[in-house]
Amino acid sequence: MKNCDQFRELIEAYALGALDTEERAALEAHLATGCRDCAKAVEEARWLVSQLAYTAPEAAPSDMLKGRLMQTVRAEAQAQAKPQVMPAKSFVPFWLWAGVAALLVFSIYSAWNMRRLHDEIRQANDRAAVLLQERQKSEQQLAQAKREAMILMDPSSVKIAMAGQNAQGPQLEAICHPQLGIVVMGEKIPMPSAHHVFQLWFIPKKPGAKPMPSMMTWPDADGKFVLLVSNPPESMDDTKALAITEEPDGGSPGPTTTPRWVGGVS
């Protein structure tokens, strides 16, 4: 008890909440030792302090406060009562399940439809790309045909007969125009060997000069042979002859075989 005496005079102030930190900590440490007498004294002191509430003048809160409180309390009471009345199984109504199911089906359909549309769009894009390529090719062919026609029909064009190795075989004819280019044409021309092309050469007049490589092509399935050279040597005057050899795919920088057709430039 002697130990308690030093704390007893703190108990009322502790219950009042007026003790400073050090004294409060000391008293709480003592209470934590399990001193029943002091604990009981604190509990009674709290009651005594609570009586001080009566020294505050009573005052009536506004009716609005009670209205707000009762509104909140009634709403919470109703919210708590509802789950007890309604069976758990029917808590989610059938129409809501049906709605969820419909939404799920719609979502799956939408995903499938979106994927289908995506595939269709991709296929359409592929087709458009092919068509565009074909159109560009057609335009190139048309431009080439126009140019060929212009070369063939222009009065300033010069025809050069290109004789074949075999006098009995098919012949080629070259039509040269000083600005538009050269067209080499022939019918019933056989296909070159596998992995080979026909390549045109310009044979210079200058002795010892190397033949100048030019365009490559194949005859079509009907044996029709057309070769357009849009950029012939600036001056055909330096060219002695035109020759066509059979070269490996991709052409050669210099002829590797004996010319199949040769035509002299006059």
């Binding site: 930190t21 609570s50 009566y54 506004s62 708590q80």
Partner: protein
């Protein structure tokens, strides 16, 4: 257990508050309304005395009664009689608001727990009913010296500590401690004397 908490030992009838609190556990709105009607004036008066502002005081009173409604089941009968418990909770809430408002740099530990601690009504509590005891408390406080009364009020209504009261009143710390202790002891003796 709850009912027993509000039945004074030796009393033959269950207190009205005990009956109403029993209804509160069943979420009886009517019981809550009656409890509010019985104690709102005391609680609001206490909070208004602390905060000195009607609108903030009503917010605090609303919080206190909503906590009572929502957490009635958490009420521990061993915490003691209902009205002191309710007043202690209201005071704590109001002082919290006061401290936030004034941004006083006191440590949170200095504030009593939000849920009131154990309160034991002494034997002499039964000597007077609530109304007469309230009158007796007011009379006893009025009989204290002005310094004692002022020091106790600063602690109870403004939540000041010994040293803060000493600084406020510009009095020695030991003097303030004596005023508060002697004032409370006189209040206690005055209530005991009614038995």
């Amino acid at each position: 257990m709850l009912l027993a908490a509000f039945t004074s030992s030796g009393a033959r009838e269950v207190s009205p508050d005990a009956t109403l609190l029993s209804g509160l556990l069943q979420k009886d709105v009517s019981a809550f309304e009656q409890l509010y009607d019985r104690h709102s004036r005391l609680v609001y008066g206490l909070v208004l005395r602390i905060l000195q502002q009607a609108s903030t005081s009503e917010e605090v009173v609303q919080d206190v009664f909503l906590q009572l409604w929502r957490n009635a089941a958490q009420y521990d009968a061993s915490r003691g009689p209902f009205v002191p418990w309710l007043c202690t909770m209201a005071r704590n809430r109001a002082l919290d608001h006061l401290r936030l408002k004034s941004e006083r740099q006191r440590r949170r530990e200095d504030i009593p727990d939000e849920l009131p601690s154990v309160v034991i009504a002494p034997e002499y509590e039964k000597a007077l009913d609530e109304k007469r005891r309230a009158e007796r408390v007011r009379a006893l406080m009025a009989s204290l010296s002005p310094q004692q009364k002022k020091a106790i009020e600063l602690a109870y209504f403004e939540g000041l500590s010994h040293s803060e009261i000493a600084a406020t009143l510009k009095e020695p710390l030991g003097t303030v401690k004596s005023w508060i202790r002697n004032g409370l002891l006189r209040l206690k003796e005055g209530l005991q004397a009614t038995t």
